[in-house]
Structures are given as C-alpha cells and as structure tokens.
C-alpha cells in the first residue's frame, strides 16, 4: 500500500514541472509568515480615520488610554485611510458582513450612505438610548446630531458643529473706508461692496467681486439654502424641493451670478485657480465654515492678517446669520468585539474639554459639547484673522446652525437645485434680468420638475418604501451587540 502511494507520488513529481512545486513551496512559506502576523494583529481595538490632523491630535489620547488598559484587547491603534478608500472599505464591510474597525470616524456623505438600507441593517450600533441614559443628548449641541440620525435613531457621536461665518479681505475693504460691521443683510453687503467693483484695466469687467459663489458650487448653494431655511426633504424624508422659499432663494442667487447686477465670481475651494483669485483679491469675501479656517491657514498663509470674520449677512433683517456644511462623527460598528470599551474610548476622544481645545488650536474646528465652549483656548486672538477671537465668533453662532437631513439622497437633491439654478442663470444672462421676482414662476416650474425626478428616484428604493418588496437576507447578517 505504502509502496503504491510512493509510486503515485513519484509519478506526480515526475509528471509536473518543478515550477509548480516551487510555487507551492513559496505559497506555503508565505502563508506561514503571514498567518501568525495577522492573528497577532487581531489583538486590540482599531480606529479608522481619514484625516491626518485628527490622527495627530488623537495620538496623545490614544497613548494615555493605552497606558491605562490592563489587557492588550482594549488597547487602541489608529489607522489613517484615505477618505474614498475608507468609504469603500467601510461600505464593503457593512454590506458583506466582514469585520471593520471597532471605531470609525467618518464624514457626513459617507455616513449618509450607510443609511440607505433597512434601518436594522445599518452597520453602526444605534446609540440613541445610550446617549439619552448618559445625558449626552442635552450636553451636545442638538443640530449636530442631525446628519447621524436616520429614521429617528442616532448612529454616531458628532465631532463638530461647523457653523459658517463670512471671511472678508479686511485689508482691501477697510482701506477703501468701507465698514462691514453694520451690515445685516446680503443686500446691504453687496451695496456696501459694489463701489469696489471697478474696471481697472478698461476691459469692461470689474477686477473685484464681493463674494465667492457660482451656480455650480453645490456646497455653497447648500449653505445659502440652509441659511435661508430652504427645504430639501420634509419630516417624512420625502423630497420637498418645490417650495416658495426655494424658488425665492434660487431666483435671488441667479441674479447674483449673472445679468446686470452680477456680484459673485467662481473661486472654488481646494483648487489652484480659486486660491489664486483669493490671493489676488479678485474675490473679497467667502463663506467660511470653521473647518475651512485651518485649511486656508495651511494653503494660503499669505493672507494672514489680511482677513476678518463676521456673521453671515442674513437673507432678511433679523434672519439667521450662519449656516452649516460638512461634519464628522465617530461610530461604533456592530462587529466590534467589545462595545463597552469602544464606547468608553469614544467618549474619551470626543467629550474631553482639553482635547477640544487642542483640536481647535490645530484645525479651528469647534466641538459640539457646550461645556467646552468656555475653555480659554477658544478665546485666544487669532493672528490669521487679524487678531480676532475666531473661536468665540464661531461659538457665538453654534446654537443657530440650521438642522440638516441625513438622507442619502441629500447630495442629489442639492445637485438638482444646482441644475435649476444654472438654467435660471442662463435666462438671467440672456434676458439681462435683475429682479428676482421676474424669475419666480420659472423657478417654481423647474423646481416641480426637479422634485418629480427626486421622487421617482427615491420611490425606486424598495428598502425605504412602506410597501417594500419581499427582502431576502443571507444567513450571518451582522446584528447589534
């Protein structure tokens, strides 16, 4: 019997090329090296994040935490992953039920994508009751929960508030003798700066524009729409684009972008041409969420001392002087092996007062925890903004930020509004319209079409419909701990 087996083995060796055996030996060798490593990596908790600045600030907290942990199982390692890569890994993990990190810091648009399916299949742990039990719902700024709330349940601790102020070139504006401190509305703002829209080189076009905005800049459109209490969805999550308010906002913005009373220029953020226009002073003011302050400091240090912040001019006297954009949260995936440890670390990372001050010093982002706002770190003069106390300026508007939707269709809804705005701007340019009232009927008609498009799109999602089609679930779907 053994001799027969030996003969067969010899046949196999004789019949196949040595390369097969070399490859086999290499595979076994590689496996032997990799397997023990991967098993040793499994010890401890992982935190995935997408921002290097965040990782640097969190390093001290993680080190302190790790020193206090008696076992390696609850020690934390941070892993920096590029934003799109983190999105892919997170969504793939949630969708297929494969493990992801124990804690994940993610940005608003990614968070919304995890809410597309049935609420019980959302990959993050529902922390609503835990927040309520520990009194965190009151301790944290209310509107900051909105992007992380789906169908009434909260799936992450908010990292920020992201109030929006107006940043302006104080060196140019004050040198011209213009005082913006008394400006209350957008109309007053443009009237005050219109004298600076001068054609200096004789080509028939002004060298300066009061505001950075363009119909295709959907982030700015969203900020201005939210500031004006425009609507994207109703309380039931149905699209609500076709409203009198939206029509008014879009018609007004169209006259900002074109026609005889154009007052804006396209100086998009994160682009070299956009930054050039800001450095040159072609654009005199921009909307500035708190997170953008840190980016400007890093990307345009040449503007240090030439800028000042002020609350956004309101749409009407007495109206809202701020808006909101972006957002980050810390979520605990259902696949975490130790929810309590992950929850304790999350609180240490996101609710610590000293941590908040350190974070603000590096990024100009203010925290959503109201008790931290009195920390002296938020009252230091900021040389970049001409010595203004930028922290308190942002904090003064934190309670007024508009509430937002966590709908995964939110970006699409704003895109549809942008399409409507572009069409209105084309009309403004063709007919040289300066009165927004003349555009209102057209705006309403286009908004109705956009709303119908959105409604059709959302109604396709059988997981969000009341009359949902029968859903098939494979075995082993992740469940809450």
């Amino acid at each position: 019997m053994f001799s027969e087996f030996k003969k067969r083995l010899a046949d196999v060796f004789g019949a196949t090329t040595p390369a097969v055996w070399v490859l086999l030996a290499l595979s076994i060798g590689a496996g032997a090296i990799v397997l023990p490593r991967s098993s040793s990596r499994k010890a401890g908790m992982k935190l995935w994040l997408f921002n290097k600045g965040h990782q640097q600030v969190y390093a001290t907290v993680a080190n302190d935490w790790n020193r206090e942990q008696p076992t390696p199982a609850t020690k934390v390692t941070t892993l920096l992953i590029d934003g799109p890569a983190l999105e892919r890994r997170l969504l793939s993990g949630f969708m297929s039920g494969t493990p992801v990190a124990d804690l994940v810091e993610t940005e608003r648009s990614v968070g919304a994508k995890t809410f597309t399916g049935p609420v019980e299949d959302i990959g993050f742990v529902d922390i609503t009751d835990r927040l309520r039990q520990e009194g965190l719902l009151d301790a944290i700024n209310g509107p900051s929960f909105a992007p992380w709330t789906s169908r009434g349940r909260i799936f992450g601790i908010p990292h920020d508030v992201h109030p929006v102020l107006l940043v302006y070139r104080s060196d140019i504006i004050e040198a011209a003798g213009i005082d913006l401190t008394k400006v209350e509305t957008w109309a007053e703002f443009f009237d005050a700066l219109r004298p600076l829209m001068v054609d200096e080189d004789g080509d028939g076009r002004p060298e300066r524009y009061p505001l950075n905005f363009w119909a295709s800049q959907i982030q700015l459109l969203e900020q201005l729409l939210l500031q004006a209490d425009g609507t994207l969805f109703d309380a039931q999550g149905r699209p609500h684009l076709d409203s009198e308010r939206n029509a008014y906002v879009l018609a007004t913005l169209a006259t900002w972008c074109g026609g005889p009373r154009r007052v804006v220029v396209d100086a998009a953020e994160f682009t070299a041409p956009g930054n050039t226009l800001k450095l040159r002073g072609t654009v005199l003011a921009s909307l500035m969420p708190d997170w953008l302050g840190g980016i400007w400091k890093s990307d345009m240090p040449g503007l240090s001392g030439k800028l000042k912040l002020m609350p956004l001019p309101a749409w009407e006297k007495g109206g809202r002087r701020t808006s909101v954009i972006g957002g980050t949260m810390l979520g605990i995936p259902k696949t975490t092996r130790d929810f309590e440890a992950a929850w304790a670390f999350a609180k240490k990372l996101y609710l610590d007062r000293e941590m908040h001050a350190r974070f603000f010093a590096k990024t100009t982002i203010i925290p959503p925890v109201k008790a931290s706002w009195s920390h002296p770190g938020f009252s230091a003069p900021d040389p970049y903004f001409s010595g203004q106390v930028s922290g308190q300026l942002f904090i003064s508007q934190a309670g007024n930020v508009p509430s937002r939707t966590s709908s995964p269709y939110s970006d699409m809804a704003v895109s549809r509004l942008s399409d409507v705005l572009i069409a209105l701007v084309d009309r403004v340019n063709q007919e040289q319209i300066s009165d927004p009232a003349a555009l209102l009927p057209d705006a309403r008609e286009r908004l109705a079409q956009a709303q119908l498009q959105m409604k059709t799109l959302i109604e396709r999602n059988v997981f969000l419909r009341d009359d949902a089609a029968p859903v098939t679930k494979a075995a082993g779907a992740a469940s809450a701990p």
Partner: protein, 314 residues
C-alpha cells in the same frame, strides 16, 4: 512489395511503450493540474462575478446580505430615466467627435510622416506620440487648469490677443463636451497615428509606382490604392476609438472634479454607472446599466466584424 513492406512494420502494441523518466505518458488528470490555476482564477474572478452581475441587474440590493427581486424594474426605470439618456447623449457626442476629428487627424499626420523624403521622421513621430504616454488623470488635471476662468492658459491667451474676449469664459460649464473632445484629441491623435503609419508602410511600393506610371494623381492613388490597403487597420482603429469612447470615465471625472458638471453636461454612461453603483449604492441599477453598455459594445464589435468580412469578400 507491399507485403514485404507491411511485414517489416511492427504491429501496434496493445500497450504502447511508456517512455521512462520525464518523457513518460502523463496520467489523464495532469493537464487539469496545469489548467487549475487559470480555471480557478477565471471562474472566481470572471465567470462567477459575471453571472452574479446578471442576477444583480434584476435586483435591488443593500450589499450581498439584503436584496429584493425587482424583475425588469431596473431596466424599465433606465429607459425612462432622463439622466441615463443624458449620459447616452453625451457619450454618443463624444464618440462621434472622437471618430470624426481624431481619425482624420491621425491619418493626416501618418500620411505626412510617411513621406519618403521627410527629415527627422523619428523625432516627429516621438513628439506626436508622446502625449499618449501621459495618463488620462494627468490630462484631466492639465486641461482643468488650462480651461480655468480668469487664470487658465486658454482664457488668458485669448483675452490677451482679443481684449473683448471674456477672461471668465466658463469653458468647463458651457462647452464640456468640446473640451473633452479637445483633451482626447491631444491624447490619442498620436497614438492612432502609429497604427496608420504601420499600415501605410505596408502598402506595396510597386503598386504605387505602377499607378504613378499609369498617370494616377496623388488623390487617385490615395483613394484607390492606399485607402483599400489600410481599410482593415482603419476599421480596427474606428472600433477601438468607439469602444474607448463608450467607456469614457477618468477624463471627465478628473476634469470636472468628480462631478458631472453643470446640468450633467459631462455625464457619461460609465460615470453614471459609477455614481449609481458606488456613490448612491444602487448596485442593481448600476449592473443593469453595465449590461446595456456591454450589449452596445458587443453590437459595435459584431458590426465591425461583419464590415471586415464584407470588405474581404468584396
């Protein structure tokens, strides 16, 4: 004689002699051992996903764990989806531009470089071919900067030459498709030129000389000798350009900063597929779009095959 001959040939043995060592006949399963790595890879990474994607096109999913069978709803929605048709229109416009501008230019350059007396032919060939060595992503970034309002090379140059020209002219908002065609021209004209050049160098010299002796002018030589000779290559280049155009994604994606541009003027079929599947997470609908695109491309390939066969026969 035949008997002698036949008797001298040994009769075939019932059991053929098996060569020893490396040259022994191998057991029947041995070929499968060699084929196994390919079959496994092919099956796992191609056949299985392909079959899954067919099923996916008839479902709405939230990952592999949750799905709902929706029948033809994805296809039905697609045929009534204005965004899909916008993407089809943009892609078709780009494909038409690619074929109508790229190919004549490529052929023209190849004809110029194929002239026998031309000095520095290798240098020019390299110069024209060089842009195709640059990746699509880089081209997208480069043209994004060139077409930027106020600060871009195109607007500053035009404004410098013609002061009445608006330095803020928004090329990438009003003329996305021409901008894409222009960028693709820069990238691919030299690449296609190489195909045409190779084909032109295979045109028999004696035919050209004979026709010249018979009094045929340059146009007649091109029309009746050069064109029929290079037609198979031209058909191939047309097909490749069409298929490449139908798959257009990276160039508009980078040029428009990951968006489809104002009013979706830069939305292509593959970009819509990507947005639907990986931004909106509607994998079922994305799969349906992918299959319709695959059918389009298959139809073009079959058309090319039929055309080539028809040409050969005629």
């Amino acid at each position: 004689m035949s008997e002698v001959a036949s008797s001298s040939v040994p009769a075939p043995a019932a059991n053929p002699v098996v060569p020893q060592g490396r040259y022994r006949a191998e057991p029947r399963w041995v070929p499968w051992v060699f084929l196994a790595p390919f079959l496994l890879t092919f099956g796992v990474f191609l056949v299985w996903p392909l079959m899954q994607s067919v099923l996916l096109a008839f479902q709405q999913t939230f990952g592999p764990k949750t799905s709902a069978w929706v029948g033809l709803a994805n296809f039905n929605f697609m045929f009534h989806d204005p965004l899909f048709w916008k993407a089809v229109g943009n892609t078709a416009g780009f494909a038409a531009g690619a074929v109508c501008f790229q190919l004549p230019l490529s052929l023209g350059l190849a004809l110029l470089l194929n002239r026998p007396g031309l000095k520095g032919r290798a240098f020019f060939r390299m110069i024209f071919f060089a842009p195709s060595l640059v990746g699509l992503v880089f081209v997208g970034l480069l043209f994004g900067l060139m077409f930027a309002p106020r600060t871009g090379l195109v607007n500053t140059t035009l404004h410098g030459l013609f002061p009445a020209f608006d330095p803020e002219f928004p090329w990438l908002q009003l003329y996305i498709l021409p901008a894409l065609i222009f960028a693709a021209l820069w990238l691919y004209v030299g690449f296609n030129m190489i195909y045409f050049l190779a084909a032109l160098q295979n045109v028999p010299e004696e035919l050209m000389e004979a026709s010249a002796l018979d009094g045929a002018g340059p146009w007649h030589r091109f029309r009746h000798i050069v064109l029929p000779e290079i037609l198979p290559v031209a058909t191939f280049v047309v097909l490749m350009s069409l298929l490449g155009s139908l798959q257009l994604f990276e160039l508009p994606f980078v040029l428009l900063n990951g968006t489809a541009g104002p009013d979706n003027r830069g939305l292509t079929i593959v970009m819509y597929l990507y947005n639907t599947g990986f931004v909106s997470g509607d994998l079922g609908y994305a799969s349906a779009i992918g299959w319709v695109l695959a059918l389009f491309m298959g139809a073009f390939a079959l058309g090319q095959r039929w055309f080539s066969k028809h040409q050969e026969e005629s």
